[in-house]
């Protein structure tokens, strides 16, 4: 088991390195650099000015070198510009280059500086992730029990009317992407045209002070899309368990139906949904981006959109590192958890 986890961790690091390099390469292509120079410097710069602006800030070094500097395995650049100021990666403009550390990358805990938010990337990531964590916590709290209940109720009597109607409900919920369900929910519950006005149409206020009426709709929107899929998986697994021999034995012994479902079937039926729930988390990341944009909740997903729209290179890299870690970590946890839950499977 230890070896298995170690191997998976190594693959994880390799994947994270490859992915960040791809993001790095794509964001550092020359047209992107030119856009960066013009937005940071001056919109009317000539080509030569762009070139000197970029080269004096070290943007024109070869991509692998820049990547190494970002990572912190190569010393940060120190360049004396044509205007006489010395600029470097590891110190503020005009500060003494000798006093600064030689290496300053992610490995040294320096995530860089966001050009859009004018702040340290590490700090932004922490605050934004905390906000998204709050959102995800409530989503999970709503989605997982609801999905499991729907799935178990549908799967315990396969083919019954309850099963049919609940299955249709879960199909509808998987077929509704967040930007559709969000728009419908906003239209029905917040607009003055329908007139219900039960909730607020934005979740900006929920960032400091979440309450039922400003936070329920975004939570519900994400939860709905993920719910159907988990419910269908639970249903399939429950239906399979209910046809097993030991369930029939329990029935013949005269155990009551609620007891069979709760004590005999449920534990075995929940193994498959566990994996699905874990693998659902990276998928929810997508939903988070859409919902945070739709409800103007300034969390991680909103930050991703802002960074991507403005080619905020170091912010984008930070965002992709975090999301890659989330994806790979959930995969690892689901594999390990599966082994523990299901004694029939061994790692080797």
């Amino acid at each position: 088991m230890g070896l298995f986890i170690l191997r998976r961790l190594l693959t994880m690091i390799g994947t994270a390195l490859c992915l960040t390099f791809i993001v790095f390469w794509l964001t550092n292509l020359y047209p992107n650099m030119e856009k960066l120079a013009k937005t940071q410097g001056n919109q009317r710069m000539t080509d030569e000015q762009v070139e000197s602006w970029l080269s004096s800030r070290g943007y024109l070094q070869p991509t692998p070198v820049k990547y190494g500097q970002w990572l912190g395995v190569l010393p940060g650049q120190v360049i004396e510009g044509p205007d006489g100021t010395t600029r470097g990666r590891c110190f503020a403009d005009g500060a003494d280059p000798d006093a600064a550390p030689r290496f300053c990358g992610v490995l040294q805990g320096n995530w860089g500086f966001s050009t859009v938010f004018k702040d340290d990337v590490g700090d932004i990531l922490v605050t934004r992730l905390a906000l998204t964590g709050k959102l995800m916590f409530w989503v999970m709290l709503l989605m997982v029990p609801a999905a499991l209940i729907v799935g178990v109720l549908a799967g315990m009597r396969e083919g019954s009317r309850t099963d049919r109607s609940l299955s249709v409900v879960s199909i509808v919920s998987t077929a509704t992407p967040e930007y559709v369900s969000g728009v419908i929910l906003i239209a029905v519950f917040t607009s003055s045209a329908v007139g219900l006005k039960w909730f607020k149409g934005t979740a900006t206020g929920a960032m400091d002070d979440a309450s039922f009426d400003n936070f329920f709709l975004p939570v519900l929107t994400i939860a709905l899309y993920g719910m159907g899929y988990i419910a269908r998986m639970t249903r399939a697994s429950m239906a399979e368990v209910m046809t097993a021999q030991y369930i029939r034995t329990a029935r013949l012994k005269g155990v009551s139906f609620p007891n069979i479902v709760l004590k005999h079937a449920l534990r075995n039926a929940l193994i498959a949904p566990f994996t699905v729930i874990m693998l659902q988390i990276p998928w929810l990341l997508n939903g988070v981006v859409i919902v945070e944009t739709l409800f103007n909740y300034k969390g991680f997903g909103w930050t991703l959109v802002q960074a991507a729209q403005n080619n905020d290179i170091e912010m984008l890299l930070g965002v992709s590192v975090v999301s890659v870690i989330v994806v790979l970590a959930t995969q690892l946890i689901s594999d390990i958890g599966y082994v523990y839950l299901n004694p029939r499977i061994s790692v080797s």
Binding site: C18, E34, V180
Partner: protein, 389 residues
């Protein structure tokens, strides 16, 4: 003129869609009549869920095709009429000229364009991209997934690593990185198209060659046809360099197409690989190996046909997923032009005024929902029927 009442709007929309109803009725009558001779497609008509799903999907296909042929749709999707900004459904068109439709059936959007016609035009945007993008993703996934599973070893490790790499990317970040104008200017999407669009040609060439290499005449005909037509389309679509100048592909559509294929193929790869791993242990594969068949013959003519059930079901689901992805692209304003009538962009535009006006955002949202729902139901029906035998 008086604005139309709700009942009148419904009646007007139903009559406007008359060609769709006729086509739908014909399809169903013919299919149900001959269903015993039509294989899996015919069996679909034994399951209610499958039939409902098929009806919804075909409804949108007909709407899209007839809309593109200009048989339905009341106004041009980009035409703006003065005084129709944000007008409610059923509002008469002020100063309607001779031969113009006199009403905005589903109202006007914030640029005074007809919502009803834009929804219909939007369905064509989806129907012309989603199935083909999915098909291409399947070709890529199959061509790479079969050898990965069949040979295993280092090839499998490398391909699986690459597939997981793409899957670990947040989809929206990938879209932002690929579809922004700066990246398009570097030509990366064109190179990606050049690689991805080669796979269908490779797939067909291997497919025919592995089967017919013992009959050189037949093989040469098939291969020649595939190569000539395939390379012609390839030059036209991927490089925009058709020597005859007939085929060209709008560059921004190409970018969207490539992004969607790229995102979908790793998942297809994993599904195909999983299925093939299971099937390659069967006796008929061992029998083919003993007969001395080549590896590609076994993969494409022994393993692939036996994996078709789950693949067809997944194909339907994946078209739905591609539709959602296209909507996501539109929602973030990526790739497609700003006034494009596709559903995602229309939803994004309509949501800004959602607290006052519902009618510009809701019709495209419900259309997208119903199409994806139809595809899901269709997949469910197919799964049920293919499991039955």
């Amino acid at each position: 003129m008086e604005p139309l009442s709700t009942v009148q709007i419904v009646v007007a929309i139903l009559t406007e869609l008359l060609p769709v109803w006729i086509a739908l009725a014909l399809t169903f009558l013919l299919s149900i009549g001959f269903r015993r001779k039509l294989g899996l497609y015919g069996k679909l008509f034994d399951s209610t869920i499958g039939m409902v799903g098929f009806a919804i999907v075909m409804f949108w296909v007909f709407v899209a095709v007839f809309g593109a042929m200009d048989l339905i749709g009341t106004h041009p999707p980009l035409a703006q009429a003065s005084g129709m900004k944000n007008k409610l459904p059923g509002t008469p068109l002020s100063g309607a000229g001779e031969g113009e439709y006199a009403f905005y059936l589903l109202g006007g959007d914030n640029l005074a364009r007809d919502v009803f016609s834009r929804v219909i035009a939007g369905s064509w945007e989806v129907i012309k991209i989603a199935p083909f993008a999915t098909l291409f993703a399947f070709m890529v996934g199959i061509t790479l997934g079969l050898p990965a599973a069949y040979y295993g070893g280092r090839l499998d490790t490398v391909l699986s690593f690459v597939a997981n790499l793409v899957l670990a990317f947040p989809v929206i970040l990938l879209f932002y990185l690929l579809v922004t104008p700066e990246i398009v200017a570097t030509g990366i999407p064109v190179y990606m198209a050049a690689v991805l669009f080669l796979f269908p040609i490779i797939f067909l060439v291997i497919l025919f060659n592995s089967r017919f290499f013992v009959q050189p005449v037949k093989r040469n005909i098939y291969l020649g046809l595939t190569l000539v037509v395939g390379l012609w389309l390839y030059l036209g679509i991927a490089w925009n360099a058709d020597p005859l100048g007939i085929i060209s592909f709008p560059p921004n559509l190409l970018v969207v197409f490539v992004a969607v294929v790229f995102v979908n193929s790793p998942t297809v790869f994993r599904i195909v690989r999983g299925l093939a791993m299971d099937i390659k242990t069967r006796d008929y594969v061992a029998a083919a190996q003993t007969r001395g068949e080549g590896p590609w013959y076994i993969m494409l003519w022994e393993i692939l046909p036996n994996a078709r059930g789950p693949l067809i079901v997944d194909f339907c689901l994946r078209i739905g997923y591609t539709t959602i992805l296209l909507g996501t692209l539109g929602f973030f304003g990526l790739g497609l032009s700003p006034e494009s009538p596709d559903w995602g962009s229309t939803i994004n535009e309509g949501r800004k005024l959602l607290s006052i006006y519902l009618h510009p955002a809701l019709p495209p949202a419900l259309s997208l929902l119903s199409l994806v729902l139809g595809l899901n139901l269709l997949a469910d029906g197919l799964r049920e029927e293919s499991l039955r035998d």
